[in-house]
Amino acid sequence: MRLGGALGLSAILCVGIARAQDPQALEWLRRIQDATHRLSYSGTFVYQNGSRSETSRITHYVDARGDIEKVEVMDGVPREIVRTRDAVRCYLPDAHVVKVEHPLDRGGAESGFPSLLPDRVNALARHYDISLGGIERVAGFECRKLTLAPRDELRYGHALYADTSSGMLLKAVTFGPKGETIEQFAFTQLVIGRVTRDQVKTRHAAQSWRVEDSGAAPASLAGWGLSSELPGFRKIAELKRRLGERGPVGQVVYSDGLAAVSVFIAPLEGRREAAPAGLASVGAVHIYTREVANHMVTVVGEAPAASVQRIADSVEFRPPQ
């Protein structure tokens, strides 16, 4: 399996689509992905962006039937997110609301959640220069540094620090064009193994809470598209869904293999106020809204503001003939 993957990567490299990449670096990327899916672990990590930092607990449980993952945010508004085999549930105890996201059925054995399949690694190498760095210690683990430096200013760079023995990702730093840190996730404590099924169950008795189900289903958003696509970003999903208590909302997702940008399209009919236009950000994610053809277009992506704005500006509606 691992050999097969490595051969696949080598084949991709030989075809010459990807620029020269260190095969070892690509193998490390695959190791990180494997570890993320196959290891049971529990730990505490800190998310930082700018001067803000926030601590969360993460627990990942794996058995023969698949994996379950739970994240509990320890600072600020309490929130718990549990990903089971068929859904992501976000528990908001203050509001007594559960938000449910279902992965799209993509008609394969692979779950609907995205993964870095070999063809995506190929795409990655086209837009990022992937290289291995030195050894650094993170949360007591000896980690190998892996850098994905973007080949243009349309995307952010990433520095990944993975445990040399297990491949587990201990720290992930997103950096901007000048090398400045945009945001960072870093474990402060991690135990690999020793996780029970009970540890990934929600601690909320949420039977009486309001359920907001996304009801996502693949759909064609007739007439909607981009007048010019952002280099390297190709469409990976197109669906209709509800959003919070609103719906239906269209969603089209573009990705370069690592970063993703979602375009949400919501009708403005029945609303009197004009759609507010503007840009917002949280860490590496930018959100840009504008009104197009009596719809509110909201673009959300972990990409520089200029990239998100470019996609938003190119959203257009051409009435189907």
């Binding site: 990327l29 962006n49 280099p231 500006d313």
Partner: protein, 169 residues
Amino acid sequence: MKDRISQLMDGELDDRAAAETIGALGRDGEALQAWRTYHLIGDAMHESRVLSAGFSVRFAERLSAEATVLAPRRARRESRTWFALSAAASFAAVALVGWLAFAPPTGLAPSPVAQAPRPALEAQSAPAMAPSAANDYLLAHQGFSPRVSIQGMAPYVRTVSEQTREPRK
């Protein structure tokens, strides 16, 4: 300068000259060293108890480690609380002190693809949407990010950074 320092210690300078000399002590390391040496000499002559070596350095360190005077900080906290309270009532204020950093699109890269010129977006003092709405968008988006496959669910915490806690409905 050393004469001035000596005169200052003896109280022989008028106000203006004293102020100038004290100012010089703040700027000139050598003058300050002389000031300290003269005091040490004076203390020795008066048989005062000599402070241990490096006292001033340690004192400065401990002083800077001390909690800052409470008054200005308390004032800031109050205004924060005020915002938080009004946030409960006011949609706009929730957004204002919310977790979103509404940033101007600084550093926009010139686009290599031909585009109709449009005015750059102005910095927004009023946000485009409420945090709860933005959170819905973030949650809906995260599941499609390939990052989840190398990082697990950690990026989902982005949705909640520094949000004002809302009262239970």
